[in-house]
């Protein structure tokens, strides 16, 4: 029995997959804590779709595809900020507009030049099948993002909480916002390879949502989200060895189950607790 459970660890590719998944899941969850609070959950969705044209172009020109994806992600984030400022349209409209445009351009490029990209791999992702150099890219991106977040999480929280005050104590608000979106784009690119473009959204929303219901302190919320994100992601990669199922599917299903549990049973903000309190009152 024990031998069977430990079997995945005897394969180097499995060790790498589990470690990288855990890392990516943790970083995505770190960012999810911020996105959930700002009501920017759709940003993850938007960015993950917006990077498709970048990937397509990178393949055509023979660049590493993470570079193309990252560039397209940052470009999308900047266009959203610009369109919103210039047009005065609401945020959801702008996000919807920009990401579908990027995604359409991406599909168009892929259909014109079909040999260039396996679009399936981008949309669904597959950590178990990616090459060593890609694994290295993903690990590097996530590692750097995590390092920057650990240094600057308090400044980012202050900006997200009260921008004017952050500015009045001398924080560089515009720089920090750009930094955040850069990290988000980078992490989306990394997570893309593990769970695919569709499920990236869940990775940058669900752990934060669960953590939000479990605590009233932002620092703890981040810790809880990161633990949930990395444990479910590593476990997802591990389990996919046995059940021969999509890693992304496993990870996100586990995250959703945890969210459901928290949603019902959280000690302070859970549904059952609220109902019980109302009855007691």
């Amino acid at each position: 029995m024990m031998e069977m459970l430990l079997e995945p660890f005897s394969y180097v590719y499995m060790q790498k997959a589990i470690a990288v998944c855990g890392l990516v899941g943790g970083v995505s969850a770190f960012l999810s804590a911020y996105l959930v609070l700002k009501g920017w959950s759709l940003m993850g969705d938007a960015l993950s779709h917006s990077i498709v044209p970048g990937v397509a172009i990178a393949y055509m020109l023979g660049f590493p595809y993470a570079a193309g994806a990252f560039f397209a992600g940052v470009l999308a984030a900047l266009s959203m900020a610009m369109v919103k400022k210039a047009s005065g349209l609401r945020e959801d409209t702008v996000i919807g507009l920009v990401f579908t445009t990027f995604f359409a351009v991406g599909l168009l490029l892929v259909s014109i030049n079909p040999t260039a990209v396996n679009i399936q791999a981008i949309i669904l992702g597959n950590i178990l099948a990616i090459s060593d150099s890609d694994i290295f890219q993903v690990a590097l991106i996530s590692g750097i993002s995590l390092f920057v977040l650990l240094l600057k999480w308090k400044d980012l929280a202050a900006v997200f909480f009260d921008e004017n005050h952050a500015r009045s104590v001398g924080l560089k608000v515009d720089f920090l916002k750009i930094l955040f979106f850069t990290l988000l784009s980078a992490t989306t690119v990394a997570a893309l390879q593990t769970v695919g473009a569709c499920l990236v959204i869940a990775m940058v929303v669900t752990p934060g949502a669960s953590a939000y219901l479990l605590t009233d302190r932002f620092g703890r919320m981040i810790v809880i989200a990161v633990v949930l994100g990395s444990v479910t992601s590593a476990l997802g990669a591990y389990l996919s060895f046995f059940v021969n199922a999509s890693t992304g599917g496993l990870i996100v299903t586990m995250q959703t189950l945890i969210f459901l549990g928290v949603f019902l049973f959280a000690p302070k903000h859970g549904v059952l607790r609220a109902r019980w309190r109302r009855r007691a009152a």
Binding site: V169, G170, D216, F218
Partner: protein
């Protein structure tokens, strides 16, 4: 800071936004420590633009702002100016405790990683005690009442250590009793030599807690002590037709030759009441004078 040299000086400040909108023009005003100033004007009169230019969020397109003789950027870096936002501008569901919010006031004093030192912790605790909220330090901010919420943000401003505090509409959505206890707090803070600038359109409360008023509408209309500047004439200039205005002249009130008349000015908050002969009317503040 016991001298009464002005600490905030605006010299001919004008702000034109990139879209061509002129928000402020030719505003020159000096504010001295130890006083509460009411910044009064209609919505869109440029109150928030004036705030932003004192805090350095917008750069005046003409003129300059000096704080303790320094440029705004330098003043920001030395944490001289602190800001208390409007209640509706804060996300009360944000997972922060009272003590976390107050600690954010210390960020400008901390190092790269924003790790609080003993001095920061002491300053935060002292600020909380100063506003009487030390018992609530472990509460999530959304669980507080309207007045307590305001106190927490005032504590953050105190922890920041600024001698100049900008308050944005501090009394919206706060009941009269809370308003009075907040006013007592503000008075105590200026008595220690701070300068408080309050943006408000709550006319009735101005005489209760402001020493001086600054009336603006795109440009400076009047500035000076409440008794001489907060007059009906000036207010009508500031608000135009946007005020509700009731006047009861001498013959409506009594049958003798007493020419005194009663004027009530209000927008949507506590009204301003003036009483006396034409030209010599005085502001009626029930509480202060002990009159009904």
């Amino acid at each position: 800071m016991s001298s009464h040299q002005p600490v905030v000086v605006l010299e001919n400040v004008g702000v034109t936004y990139p879209n061509g909108h002129v928000a402020l023009e030719g505003v020159s005003v000096s504010l001295a420590p130890g006083k509460i100033y009411g910044l009064v004007g209609v919505n869109g009169a440029g109150k928030s633009t004036l705030f932003k230019s004192i805090m350095g969020f917008v750069k005046p397109t003409s003129g300059q702002v000096l704080i303790e003789g320094k440029g705004v950027w330098e003043a920001l870096r030395s944490n001289l100016v602190s800001y208390v936002p409007q209640t509706e501008d804060v996300d009360w569901n944000f997972p922060v405790l009272v003590e976390d919010v107050v600690m954010m006031g210390r960020y400008g004093h901390m190092g790269f990683l924003r790790r609080p030192k003993a001095a920061d912790k002491a300053a935060a605790a002292e600020a909380l005690a100063r506003v009487g909220m030390e018992k609530y330090s472990k509460r999530q901010i959304g669980e507080l009442s309207g007045g307590q919420k305001k106190r927490v943000f005032v504590a953050r401003a105190l922890a920041q250590g600024g001698e100049i505090i900008l308050l944005d509409e501090p009394f919206t959505g706060v009941d009269i009793k809370t308003e009075e206890s907040l006013i007592t707090l503000f008075r105590a803070l200026v008595a220690e030599g701070r300068l408080i600038l309050v943006s408000t359109h709550d006319l009735g409360s101005v005489p209760y807690f402001c020493d001086e008023v600054v009336l603006i509408n795109r440009t400076l209309l009047a500035c000076g002590p409440v008794e001489t500047t907060f007059t009906q004439e000036n207010l009508i200039r500031a608000f135009g037709g946007m005020l509700r205005h009731h006047r009861m002249a001498g013959d409506d009130l009594h049958d003798d030759t007493d020419a005194r008349r009663l004027t009530v000015l209000s927008d949507d908050e506590r009204p301003l009441v003036l009483y006396g002969e034409a030209g010599g009317e005085k502001i009626v503040t029930g509480a202060k004078d002990g009159k009904p």
